[in-house]
Symmetry: C2
Amino acid sequence: MSKKDNILIIGAGLCGSLLALRMAQRGYKVTLVEKRPDLRNIEQDAGRSINLSLSDRGLRGLRLAGVEEEAIKQCIPMHGRMIHDKQGNTFLSKYSGRENKFINSISRPGLNMLLLDAAEKMPNVSLFFNHGCESVDLENASATFKNYETGAVTSFKGDILLGTDGAGSAVRRSMFNNRDFLFSFSLDWLTHGYKELTIPPTENGGYRTEKNALHIWPRGEDMLIALPNMDGSFTVTLFLPYANSNYCFENLITPEKVHEYFHSEFPDALALMPNLTEVFFENPTGPLGTIKCSPWNSFGKSLILGDAAHAIVPFYGQGMNASFEDVVVFDEVLEAFEEKLFSGTIDWKKIFQEYEKARKKDTDAIADLAVDNFHEMKEHTASELFQKKRKLETAFEAAFPDNYSSKYSMVTFNETISYDEAMTRGRAQDKAILNLIDDGELSENMPLNEKLILVKRTTEDILNDNAILGKLK
Amino acid sequence: MSKKDNILIIGAGLCGSLLALRMAQRGYKVTLVEKRPDLRNIEQDAGRSINLSLSDRGLRGLRLAGVEEEAIKQCIPMHGRMIHDKQGNTFLSKYSGRENKFINSISRPGLNMLLLDAAEKMPNVSLFFNHGCESVDLENASATFKNYETGAVTSFKGDILLGTDGAGSAVRRSMFNNRDFLFSFSLDWLTHGYKELTIPPTENGGYRTEKNALHIWPRGEDMLIALPNMDGSFTVTLFLPYANSNYCFENLITPEKVHEYFHSEFPDALALMPNLTEVFFENPTGPLGTIKCSPWNSFGKSLILGDAAHAIVPFYGQGMNASFEDVVVFDEVLEAFEEKLFSGTIDWKKIFQEYEKARKKDTDAIADLAVDNFHEMKEHTASELFQKKRKLETAFEAAFPDNYSSKYSMVTFNETISYDEAMTRGRAQDKAILNLIDDGELSENMPLNEKLILVKRTTEDILNDNAILGKLK
């Protein structure tokens, strides 16, 4: 084994911090540079997303770096979607028919601090905060940064540069602007924006509604969701069209109008948010976009990962999980090729290309699934046909835990199935079940195991029919 | 009717020239500004694409502006794809089983000149060449231009601004860079590039191979095509991966290697191109990209159309046709709303939004179909299963001309079916036929009309099954 290279990582958010930790564990010398102040020293912003869904794929990344147990201490399990209708009735739609399958609500800054602490303990990690990236030299794995405290401009250089600087990535922007190679890029905005609100704890620090669920108020074109925090509060997010709707961000511009809207659409949530209108006007309205691009590496010297390479909308609760899985896949590729890298048989370019080959179709898939889930959450969850499907799938998973997984389960609870495979199989399965129900082919008195056989056969037929283009090669 | 507004059109290519002509015919005062010199005064570039496919949708646009007949005089009909195998064997795959259905090869500069001549004859059109757009003020429908002859910078302003400045649109770029609204944008490059070559005329000015066909040499990952010109020559285009292939642009860097490649893959084409290697190294290698974006208008003042709004890859021969159809659709929307515009009941923003609502899904569809056709042309046309499908479809169209249209026919020969509808129905139909053939359900001795019934029923089943998500609303 030859010496390990220097790695410059730009962006110490969730993905960058985990990546730095893991690369340091592999023996590389890591310089980790972050634009923002060290969040361990400052009070948290109220306006930014402060809790996130953590599930199996994300946990696997944390496990790889030995910090899963610490993270789990910060988790609140959520066993299903608690659906709230307009009359304030609720019902719980479980995420899985299997026992002990749940997702977790976790504080974003809390988890980030945990990862920074672990990275900082490594002797081969240097951390710099308050350093905003001003320019990137992709070909030479170097970048200049402005120190926001002193105003000084510094330059850092690695043997390679890894960009984990999020959806607004400066590294990706410099790839986009570079004319030396063809960089495919897409940015798709939803016509909806989001705004964070809050349900405060009760006076004794308890929860004002069911703690162990992800709450949804689906209303067709708009939707409210809520995830629990450790302090008894819930972070609530409103998803609403910007314009062209009875109620939209463009016309919710007075406290009266906001109150009227919540009173009409989310009366039970309104009752839990005593200071709704203040918070509504304090917090910013954010846009919701999907970013895809390729190639992820430039000149075999610089590579982007996490949101920088594939920002997705939040509706599958997979953004952080996908970024952590990036670290797992990158680590696997390194594991497979590192010896050749050290012996000089291959270079980093090969590693980067193998990583993208292994990973790109999956991040594309979760991006598309997340947009699908936007429609599912705001609209389909309120549909009778959809609810019948969920009921059947929950029954399948309970009765045949080793023989059936819903699309949601494959995406969320099964990290051995890739996102791409989960999408392909899951979509076929959804189509099969919905059409079988709609055509009346799953009669009430058909035994459950026969229903399962029929669903599986129909799913296979759909997959086979879809595969026909592959036979034209 | 109140006075007609001033329209500033940027870009006098095919789309801009036809749009200027049509808007002038509707009575608007048009200022048409073009970066390039007036192509009526200069010799033509050899390196740029010099002939294009013109079919029903494009002809409809020309008809609307009264220039169809003139254009048809420049057309060479192509009745089908002439497929060339590696041994130099050829067979003609007709575009339609119907009589008198063909596409046309037409000179791009010739058609552009025809449109400029017609626009220039209108008293309410002002034409400026050699004026490169330097900056755009989207909100005020104005732009500054550099006069490439004098170096002077001029400014033009309209009541509205229409950007028809092509795939590299300056108007679109200023929309992309504007932070006042969310602009969704995608640019997808193929990993293939293209290079134009030529088959010269015979010594007596005749054609060296069949004149009335679009020639294809499909080779799986690469492909050669040829379209006839009026002077007896063919414009040949090579589509080839940039890299990572036995033969690719990265390694075709010596005359010997180019000759070896053509000798191995396209021996019959090589025999028709005496100066192949010279032309190969004279002409540039061009990239192939798809651009989608939205919204097409900014501030209700500026709108992009044609390639500026939706550049597509050339494989369906629909680029120009789609742009001309833009003019037809924009004209229809104007026709429907112009009275309200004049009376002040609505503004241009409404017109622009209605136009995008009517048009966007169709330009998205033809963009996707064009990428599909890349794979079909280079790969599927050589497959036996695919050829069986085409044979069956040609038989359907010949025997039941009023009762069957292939996807290709819907896209190319039926301008009353939108691109989106052609894609949805055409893909279902392709899937039905391919699976029926592959499953052996269309036996030799089944009468043709029974085959048609089975194909139609299977297609409807597929469409119905696909529509299930619509039932979750």
